[in-house]
Symmetry: C2
Subunit: 278 residues, 2 copies
């Protein structure tokens, strides 16, 4: 039986591509129109796993998704990195001179800003999804509007790519996490990365003290961010990602954080799959 | 002569409200349809100052705006906090049963998610701006679609509020920064807050070492976040905000950061205006 996997967006989206690369071509996809819908699909048991974009090497962390994982006590059981290539696509026969608007996801528009600034006569319109715009252009034979999306989307919705790879930065990667409602057993020897959340009291130096301990325990901090605590404005939680060589070092870090932090929670322990820089 | 101030969004937006509270009712407003346009308006000299939302007490930091300030070397010369009240508004005569879609900015939709989940028959549609949707409903006499926006927008575009204050969390504040192209002279005795950016080498413990120094210098860290370094994926810069009592402590911190960090930059030195919790 195939695993049922929730993705954000429709078929042809980058989430779809990640699901295929991570679970295999035959994976059963459940498209969701928002990240909230994706979380609901996991919580209700409609799907067993979900693919969620969490961080982009240019635009940074996708903050509301951290909050969604935390609030709903989801478990990160894996990660996957995808190099993002964006393409300008139109209904076959249309040329760039015919285009008055380009519709895409705000993040995709942002990623292609240098290209788009060279075409100031083309109006930018934010849309919910990259592939969804491509699908709509095809289905309604819309002229004068271009989509920015993946090659997969162009192929799936039979659009012509009139400007390939228009992303400003070539080395643009997005990190996706694989989520489950219940935690999975991952063998300790396969774990070398963890996502943690903690809250500290407001004494000056409390964050430095925690980071000292983490450094002493040989944790490599790969990301840190303070996020407001819901319901108590301007009090912050800290979200950190660490990588490590020995699980025993990490186990020790957890014990110490339990003692030092006012609140401590593991969002996920999993295998680091970050590709090496080229 | 009135100061020309760029705001994101149109008249009736929260940015408009902040501009009026910060500069006074008579301020000359230049509406911009995107944050990029707002930055361009400052850089080209079309406006002298700009108001930019930077952080929300629920949704967290608005990451791309940090990148815009940094990339364009803008200066933060002040800040302003606004308590956000969201309202559901429609063309006069329309009732909630008549509404099939609600259009608003993604952040506004997110802030009202509990209310919206009680009305699952109303489809959520992301839009560029809260006030802009209100204006469009009025101008085109659109039935069946509601906007989520401020009371100011309802008044300005003559819409009926059918559900007031529908934000999930009542104590929802947004922090705005006041930006200039060139730095302003702010007297040292008025400065008790700074926004800093630094980059560190990848030695384990380097962030802890910097935070120790900041703590020793009596800096209160009010926010920290690692953001990817553009052009070098997965290398991080750190953005921190600090408050302090004595400028001399802060001056010492700056000198030490110049030595310790691979790269160090002040995004702004200004007066902390954060209201006390109620």
């Amino acid at each position: 039986m195939e695993i049922k996997v929730a993705i954000q967006g429709i078929k042809g989206s980058f989430h779809h591509q990640v699901a295929q690369e991570y679970f295999g071509e035959g994976v059963e996809i459940h498209p969701c129109l928002s990240f909230e819908e994706l979380v609901d699909s996991l919580l209700s048991g409609k799907t067993e796993q979900a693919v969620m974009a969490i961080e982009n090497s240019i635009a940074g962390p996708i903050i509301p998704n951290y909050a969604l994982i935390d609030k709903n006590n989801l478990h990160i059981i894996g990660e996957h990195y995808l190099r993002i290539h964006q393409n300008l696509m139109v209904l076959p026969g249309q040329k760039i001179e015919d285009i008055s608007e380009v519709h895409s996801h705000p993040m995709a528009l942002l990623q292609c800003m240098d290209f788009l600034k060279k075409h100031p006569n083309i109006k930018l319109v934010e849309d919910k999804d990259t592939a969804e715009t491509a699908r709509r252009i095809k289905e309604n034979s819309i002229k004068g509007i271009a989509a920015i999306a993946s090659k997969t989307a162009a192929k799936m919705y039979e659009l012509d790519i009139i400007a390939p790879e228009i992303q400003t930065i070539n080395d643009n990667m997005t990190r996706f996490v694989i989520l489950k409602k219940e935690n999975s057993f991952v063998p300790q020897q396969d774990i070398n990365r963890a996502s943690l959340k903690f809250e500290l009291d407001h004494k000056r130096g409390s964050l430095a003290a925690v980071l000292n301990v983490m450094s002493d325990c040989k944790m490599n901090l790969t990301k840190i961010q303070s996020l407001p605590k819901i319901e108590t404005p301007w009090k912050y939680s800290f979200f950190v990602d660490v990588t490590f060589d020995n699980y025993s070092d990490y186990a020790k870090t957890k014990s110490l954080l339990e003692i030092m932090a006012e609140y401590f929670k593991v969002l996920g322990e999993y295998k680091n799959t970050k590709p090496l820089a080229e």
